[in-house]
Amino acid sequence: MRKIALLMALLLCFTLAPMLQNDFVLMAADKVVTLDMYFPVAVGGGPDKLISALCEQFHTENPGIKVNPVYSGSYADTRTKVQAAIKGRNTPAIALMFSIDLFSLLSMNAILDYDSLCATPEDKAWLSGFYEGFMKNAQTGGKTYGIPWQRSTIVLYYNKDAFRQIGLDPNKPPATWAELETYAQKLTKVENGSTVRYGIEIPSDKAGYAYWMLQTFCTQQNGFNLMNQDGTEVYFNDPRTIKGISFWKNLSDKGYQPRGTTAWATTPTDFLEQRAAMIYHTTGNLTNIRKNAKFDFGVAMLPAEASRGSPTGGGNFYLFKGVPKEQTQAAFTFVKWMTDNPDRVAQWSIDTGYVATRPAAYETQRMKDYAAKFPQALVARDQLKYGHAEFSVYDQGIVQKILDDAIELIMTGQKDPTTALNAAQAQADGILKQYRK
């Protein structure tokens, strides 16, 4: 009898102990509002350290609020984590997520609109001080749901030394598709039957935002985009889309670009190792490339077809429903603190290469000094006037995968563009029709 009693007592202790521990921790920390912020990193150069430093500085200036930055992998991983937290009824107050997650989060009824939080005229002025090009992936139905933070456009990085080597003018990067193809052909170096340097590399694997790269070729045809503004229709098998991907595939077929799929993560490395003379990549990698390139390189707007064009990219701050009011207010204070000060926004852009999200940041002294030394930093901002919304629809995860799969099938030669994109369009329509009114 005593043995059994002892056993039951032990079991009880094991089950109760963890529950009691939580209560003690909560009681100690109730003076400071603590927020966990999930954030992704999609570029080299260690932006995570910068974010930690910013959060520390924020806490020093606002001792009543503490934001814990929690690195959560890629944009896709972060979306998974946040959605899992919401489904597990453990919603975070704030998260830095892909701008294109907007519709998925809306359909979960998870996010707050900033207009309802803006109380004072200063707040409203702050809200309208961002670049219009970045707000396209943050607003719908007349309301603002995301505040741009780490935003980008795609730029062409090119190896000026390689240009000089083969007699091209290093200050005249290719400005049209035709020039891109000619330059790529000249820059491709083949030795003993294998390619030592590719003329151009454009990432095309799933993890490489293949759909984003495809958007460049679409928007360069007079601003045609792959989806509508409401996120309910896609245009995968439009002749312009097919034209875009055929041009892209053609570069591989001719040998100027690696065959099959090219990985996002190794493309900047290939550029730095001079195995690729030109690359399409996010401006968020600019500082990383600037620090590590042992050769003279340039940054240019993407070559045009009928027009210049690039999708924007990157992450916004989102605030979530279903959290205590004081946490929402604290999170709102944090977001304003991060983005209101033009110097802070400018410094973030200088440290990473992301585009500063407010025009005021480019008027600051530090940004003017930096741009004088390093004019490449302004290219992505200048391209903003040709900027278009990044691919964003309802059920983003599935529809994006359908498109990414189709692109992979085309680039690896398993299917021709028309067949693959027709199939993708049919599948996407099947999923999106329930969201159309």
Partner: protein, 312 residues
């Protein structure tokens, strides 16, 4: 009920009076059972929480439509299962998994038997040989995936040094074979350990008797070693089979199921559908399909093979 002396209290409370009315042997039996259950209770709780309850819940969830477009899950019966029959990605993941299973199981086993016999026969450096064969097993899966990702990377990787343009993971026809090679490499050592202990259970005298009768090495293997290793082989087949269906980490690091779903496998697809796309109903349906399939195969394995095995 709680007032009065000890005997009155015990009589008043139903459980205590029931205990009192039992005879001595029954009481003892109950005590032993209760103690036994109490001792296995922690493990049993874990088993229920992490295995039995999730299986039951998945079964239940698979009958509902629960994705981002519905705010309250709706009961739809077997519709999720019928939709799976139309899903080309599911069918491809299923076929890929089958291919991986069919290739990795016999080759891993054959290699492991060979390695075990070799490791047993070796005179010098027996320990070193075993470590060399076994070390892939102790490496974490993510580390293995990263190492092989590097080996397969075109231009910089190990293979890339010899043929820079060979894109093994980037082409649909070669990606899955590249994966299979890596899986066999990782698995063979683990299987070898079971065979080493199995070999040590076979009596030396049998081999001596066979030699006296004039049997060559191949004949000893076919008629003595292999039949007596049958119990190990059954066990190892089940292990390698479940390993083939547990592949997730490698896909996440190396290919993410690509290119174009050429390396997508069931468990990875379930994760994608469940946690990337949040189509919980469909993911649950796929989970049930996976569980049922593995159960059936394992059951066949145990009941059919078991009859033909000689347990010494």
């Amino acid at each position: 009920m709680w007032s009065g002396n000890r005997y009155e209290v015990r009589a008043g409370c139903p459980i205590l009076s029931w205990i009192d009315r039992m005879n001595h042997t029954t009481k003892k039996k109950w005590k032993i059972s209760f103690l036994a259950w109490g001792l296995i209770l922690p493990s049993f709780v874990f088993l229920v929480l992490f295995t039995l309850y999730p299986i039951a819940k998945s079964f239940y969830l698979s009958f509902f439509k629960d994705n981002l477009s519905v705010s309250i899950p709706a009961f739809i019966g077997f519709q999720n299962y019928l939709d799976l029959l139309q899903d080309s990605v599911f069918k491809q993941a299923f076929m890929n998994n089958l291919l991986v299973a069919i290739c990795t199981i016999p080759i891993s086993i054959a290699l492991a038997v060979g390695m075990a016999i070799f490791a047993n026969k070796v005179k010098f450096g027996k320990g070193l040989t075993r470590v060399a064969f076994f070390h892939p097993t102790i490496l974490p899966m993510v580390a293995v995936a990263d190492i092989w990702l590097f080996i397969y990377t075109p231009m910089y990787g190990l293979i890339g040094k010899f043929s820079p343009d060979l894109r093994l993971l980037g082409s649909a026809d070669t990606a899955i074979w590249a994966l299979i090679v890596m899986l066999i490499w990782k698995q063979a050592g683990y299987v070898m350990i079971f065979y080493i202990s199995g070999l040590q259970g076979i009596s030396r005298e049998l081999y001596e008797a066979a030699r006296l009768d004039g049997a060559g090495p191949v004949q000893s293997f076919m008629h003595i070693t292999w039949p007596l290793l049958k119990p190990t082989t059954i066990y190892v087949t089940v292990i390698t089979l479940t390993n083939a269906y547990k592949i997730v980490d490698h896909l996440y690091i190396m290919t993410k199921g690509g290119p174009g779903n050429a390396t997508n496998m069931l468990l990875f697809y379930i994760y994608q559908v469940g946690f990337d796309f949040w189509d919980v109903g469909k993911a649950a349906a796929m989970t049930v399909v996976l569980i049922v399939m593995l159960l059936v195969v394992t059951a066949i394995q145990f009941f059919v093979q078991d009859k033909r095995t000689f347990y010494s």
